[in-house]
Assembly symmetry: C2
Homo-oligomer: 187 residues x 2
């Protein structure tokens, strides 16, 4: 399972075997079954999670019990409640497993330690954060401006695999449309 | 005007005079009058801009001519079309001056050069990007979940100064409500 992590780092920065082994020693592993929670609202969020296997969703449930899906995450993605992780506050998101999941867990202390010790790891995480920032900005523009049909088509183009692995009810929740609207869009 | 930039860097990382002078040598300066554009949709986006004086807005205008405000920026903030800047593609945003503006301009080449040469600058920009990511995630949750009244109150709490400096029509556009709704909320 460490092979995927190494390939992931090396998309941005080359690593020697020793460097990678050292980095890997700062991660722990965790396995969860389908439907289990990786993070629950109210938890202390100790880790950022790199997904080695499986599929999860990060969502916010409001006072009326309505769930808004913020993010899906699958192999080669990171997922956490980043606000709670970076600010060391309580989670406001739930992160649960749509499929059985294996993740590599990186604590904030170990992340900062690696970034401080290895300039190339600081570089890696800066680049990742930039990509993430751009993706969120696109999502905001899409929420502000696009129609349900446009949001559906964007998601289909960007992540076609999601449509094979995620139940349609959850895709609808991510897009902010009803299950009926989604059926009309996908027919 | 360089004092503000130095204070801004030193909120995250201490710098010697030599280090700061070296960093500053990678910036150029620009002044714009009220209503002028810093970036126009379709432009090549060469710079990220640190605001030394004044107030701007970054917005997206759709095919029907409707403007969606993505961000305001004032003293001590960075503003650009980040997607276009990092990917070196054409701007999809307009950035224009609500007040007369002075900015310090950092090209992507110079940003990457400084990050590569100085670990502490890579650290600075990673931390800034993390903060930005968290702010955008909050905005997405707010768009997905909050009522107009909640969004108004959040903005008032987070950036009270905006309500003194920005015309109400623009505040309404940022919140995604009509001018009439905003008047009702603020009365």
């Amino acid at each position: 399972m460490s092979k995927l992590l190494r390939e992931h780092f090396e998309k941005i920065t080359a690593l020697t075997d020793q460097e990678f082994d050292y980095i890997l020693s700062h991660f722990t592993t965790k396995k969860l079954k389908k439907h289990q929670f990786l993070v629950q609202a109210g938890d202390q969020v100790k880790y950022d999670y790199f997904v080695v296997k499986g599929l999860l969703k990060a969502s916010f449930t409001n006072n009326d019990g309505k769930e808004h899906i913020l993010q899906f995450a699958m192999e080669d993605w990171w997922v956490s409640d980043f606000q709670a992780y970076f600010n060391q506050t309580e989670a406001i998101l739930d992160i649960d497993c749509i499929e059985a999941v294996e993740v590599l867990c990186l604590s904030l202390t170990n992340r900062e330690k690696l970034c401080s010790e290895m300039h190339k790891i600081e570089h890696f995480f800066r680049r990742k954060s930039n990509f993430g920032y751009i993706a969120l900005q696109s999502r905001i523009l899409s929420l502000l401006n696009s129609s349900a049909k446009e949001r559906y088509e964007e998601l289909l183009q960007r992540s076609p695999i999601l449509f094979q692995r995620v139940p349609k009810t959850l895709i609808a929740s991510y897009l902010g449309v009803s299950r009926e609207t989604l059926s009309r869009l996908s027919s």
